[in-house]
């Protein structure tokens, strides 16, 4: 295909197009690249804030007994760590990628609703600020776990209404972001960019957007009822008035299970984008990837009570949720086989983005398998609320979502900045992360199987050895991420000094429109739609 020529890139129809001067630029911007950058920078900052909380948790668990923090504060840390990582780091990071990449991937001049885009970002910031402010309140931050189960969460001090309103703000932010993404994908594609020609990252975000709009209001409703139960005398979750605390769990997990797919589907999308480039082959099974994503999204709505096997559901419920959950392994398996088949007999090279992606395929599969183990209801009576489940979801989130976010960073930073990152340090970052993440989380499987409960600051001495090993892995993992911070800053400031080409990676232009644009791309791109659509992935 021919590269998109400069006239496609610099052509403007309006008269007011440069960014505003100074810091104000970032406050009032409507540009998808600016907003993407804001989201990514914010997410990275929150990744470290959440990371410090994780370090506190691992420090306390280094040895049995109470070392550094009070139990209440320890539980605040597990709660806040999860909330900050989920709502402050992983989700915003993917929204940032969506902002940067979707318009460039589908040949659109910007997001469909640019003003709302700006508002989504600032709502996110204010939601996270409200949440963070609870750290300094009487009674401390919420400490009932990120699931905010009543009746325990109703014992929270002054923090409760702030946490509830924070969820509302984050919810509005996510819904606006999702609406924007969906409208962009449906309405802003360049001529010829048919749905089945879209890069998988775009597809997975389309489906994720739908999930978000469907579930964020559900979470908002659930916490609203917490608020009224606490302050307005309702008894939604109080059996004395005819309500039921288990009802909260049903509502929460109706949100919560699709929510974990909100974090993993875009991950799948990025992996499907990166692996073919470094395997120098088209993605294996493009359309099966699309259908698998859609099936996972559909199934995610009908499996929620696998988080509640031990609450005393009727047996029919246990069985139904067990089998339905197992079904998810099928489309997930399709994806894993497709990535493997994409690499099969490819001319692979192992630059940092590819290393992180391969690690993702392997380690995510681990998380999928433990998920399958827990989906067996009778077995889950043993695993539930132990470190086994902590190991499960960290395998699906850290060496999966977070690794792929790292991969995305390495993959697109040269495009965004026009500079090449330092490959040596990148590889070092990868190997340190990949080894330490396993030292950190693998032992937690053993701890859980042996019966160590989650969310406790102290434990029986028989768990001491694996906890210490896990903590050591945690410290190494945490410290290694500083390398990533260094690389990001270094690359923005010039990196290796090597001039990167438009396509950056060999033949990348066959895989996506973004590689036909200059590196870095100008402030406005595709103000007139491109005419040639890459079709390599089909």
């Amino acid at each position: 295909m021919s590269a998109v020529t400069a006239e496609h890139v610099d052509h403007h129809d309006d008269h007011d197009h440069g960014p505003a001067k100074g810091l104000l630029r970032w406050v009032i911007t409507t540009n998808h690249k600016d907003i993407g950058t804001l989201y990514l920078v914010f997410a990275l900052a929150m990744f470290f804030v959440g990371g410090i909380m994780a370090m506190i948790i691992r420090a306390e668990l280094f040895e049995p007994g109470l070392q550094f923090v009070q139990p209440q504060f320890f539980n605040s840390m597990t709660t806040m760590h999860a909330l900050v990582m989920v709502f402050g780091a992983v989700m915003p990071a993917f929204v940032g990628l969506a902002n940067w990449m979707i318009p460039m991937m589908i040949g659109a001049p910007d997001m469909a609703l640019p003003r709302m885009n700006n508002m989504s970002f600032w709502l996110l910031v204010s939601g996270v600020l409200l949440l963070a402010s609870t750290l300094f309140m009487e009674g401390g931050s919420p400490a009932a776990g990120w699931t905010l189960y009543p009746p325990l969460v109703l014992q929270t001090g002054n923090a409760l209404p702030f946490a509830v309103f924070s969820v509302h703000l984050l919810g509005i932010s996510s819904i606006m972001g999702a609406i924007n993404i969906i409208a962009t994908i449906f309405n802003m594609r360049a001529p010829g960019m048919t749905l089945m020609k879209m890069p998988l990252f775009v597809w997975t975000w389309l489906i994720t957007g739908f999930l978000l709009i469907a579930i964020m209001p559900v979470f908002a409703g659930a916490v609203t009822m917490l608020l009224t139960d606490k302050f307005f005398g309702t008894s939604f979750f109080d059996a004395a008035g005819g309500g039921d605390p288990i009802l909260y769990q049903h509502i929460f997990w109706f949100f919560g299970h699709p929510e974990v797919y909100v974090m993993i589907l875009p991950t799948f999308g990025v992996a499907s984008t990166i692996i073919p480039v470094f395997a120098r082959k088209p993605l294996f099974g493009y359309s099966s990837m699309v259908y698998a994503t859609a099936s996972i999204a559909f199934l995610s709505f009908i499996v929620w009570a696998h988080h509640m096997f031990t609450v005393g559901m009727p047996v029919a419920g246990e069985l139904y949720f067990m089998y339905a959950t197992m079904l998810i392994a099928i489309p997930t398996g399709v994806k894993v086989f497709n990535w493997t088949a994409t690499m099969w007999k490819g001319s692979l090279t192992f630059e940092t983005p590819m290393l992180f992606s391969i690690a993702f395929v392997v380690l995510f599969t681990m998380g999928g398998f433990t998920g399958l183990m827990m989906s067996i209801a009778p077995s889950d009576f043993q695993y539930h609320d132990t470190y086994f489940i902590v190991a499960h979801f960290h395998y699906t989130l850290v060496p999966a979502s977070v690794f792929i976010l790292m991969a995305a960073g390495y993959y697109w930073l040269p495009k965004w900045t026009g500079h090449m990152y330092n490959e040596k340090i990148g590889q070092l970052h990868f190997w340190l992360s990949a080894v330490s993440v396993n030292i950190l989380f693998f032992p937690q499987h053993f701890l859980g199987l042996a019966g160590m409960p989650r969310r406790i600051p102290d434990y029986a001495v028989q768990f001491a050895d694996w906890n210490m090993i896990s903590s050591i892995g945690g410290f190494i993992f945490g410290a290694s991420q500083l390398l990533f911070l260094y690389i990001v800053i270094d690359t923005i400031r010039g990196g290796t000094g090597e001039k990167v080409t438009d396509e950056v990676w060999e033949d990348a232009h066959k895989h996506g429109l973004e590689w036909t644009l200059p590196s870095p791309p100008p402030y406005h791109t595709f103000t007139t739609p491109p005419t040639v659509i890459p079709t390599e992935h089909i």
Partner: protein, 297 residues
């Protein structure tokens, strides 16, 4: 894409940050108020003022842009999609409370009464509890005049055929007047457009007034409050959020009415009217659900 005007991309937006500031001030104020802090109400008022100014400013900006023809068909499609998905999110929000009503009526209350796996629970905890609907639970929760928790309270459930039925007729009629106004707009009959909108807005606010009256009756005459166990909780939560949405819808329609009197909207370009009308019909349909599941059944 079919028009020759390029897709309009606004630059340097100030209203979104102001909107966020207003919203977060209001919520922080509300949270402080709930915690008993004295700055709460002040913050809430400040936030509300910021928010109202923002609404006026942002609406003016958008309608000005729309009227000066800056939005092509493709922009219009983006706005319509935005509105449709927003309404979908609202449907999911209401689904939570309808789901809660379903769950408590059909599962948790019968379980408390000993059904299914609840036999032991009933025997051990509340052996005398009879699972019926409406209920304020095994402990008969209620609140007294001072707002304090009471037990073994009695209350009278809300009937369907008085004010609620009248309100159903009102909302259904307002749906008709709204559509009639739309026909006026399409037929370039501005008089019909404005009259239709006035009727719709008036019916909307009448609905809210009747609802307020109904709440007053409930609190003062029937012993039915938000604290009346699960019946009171679901009743006021569902009807309350619905009433709040009627207010929002009526305010949006008022803005559309105001713009109509200023000569805004053309038969081929009237997104704001459509959005308001969709929203109004959505609120209408939710009410029908409420009437059946909350009042009738």
């Amino acid at each position: 894409m079919s028009t020759n005007v390029a897709y309009y991309i606004p630059h340097k937006a100030t209203w979104p940050v102001i909107a966020t500031a207003g919203l977060v001030t209001m919520l922080a104020g509300f949270a402080n108020y709930l915690n008993g802090s004295s700055i709460g109400p002040t913050l809430m008022v400040v936030g509300l003022v910021i928010f109202i100014v923002m609404l006026a400013g942002w609406f003016t900006l958008q309608s000005g842009e729309s009227e000066s023809g800056m939005y092509n068909t493709q922009v219009g499609i983006s706005y319509r999609m935005g509105m449709m998905w927003f309404i979908f999110s609202e449907i999911m929000f209401f689904a939570v409370f309808f789901g809660t009503l379903y769950y408590t009526r059909n599962l948790s209350v019968p379980w408390l009464g000993g059904e299914g796996t609840g036999a032991a629970t009933k025997e051990l905890l509340w052996p005398t509890f009879e699972a019926t609907w409406p209920t304020n639970g095994p402990k008969g929760l209620g609140v007294d005049a001072s707002g304090a928790r009471t037990f073994g309270a009695e209350f009278e459930p809300m009937g369907a055929w008085g004010l609620p039925f009248l309100n159903t007729l009102i909302l259904l009629t307002s749906g008709v007047t709204c559509t009639w106004a739309h026909h006026g707009l399409l037929a370039k009959n501005r008089d019909q457009l404005i009259k239709g909108l006035i009727a719709t807005v008036a019916l909307g606010f009448t609905f809210v007034a009747f609802q307020a009256f109904e709440y007053h009756e409930a609190y003062t005459e029937m012993g039915l409050t938000l604290g009346s166990g699960i019946y009171g909780s679901t009743f006021f939560m569902l009807t309350g959020f619905h009433g709040f949405h009627v207010c929002i819808g009526a305010i949006i329609l008022s803005v559309v009415l105001f713009r109509s009197t200023r000569g805004h909207f053309k038969p081929e370009n009237h997104f704001a009217f459509e959005a308001a009308a969709w929203y109004w019909h959505f609120v209408d349909v939710v009410w029908l659900g409420l009437f059946v599941f909350v009042y009738l059944m």
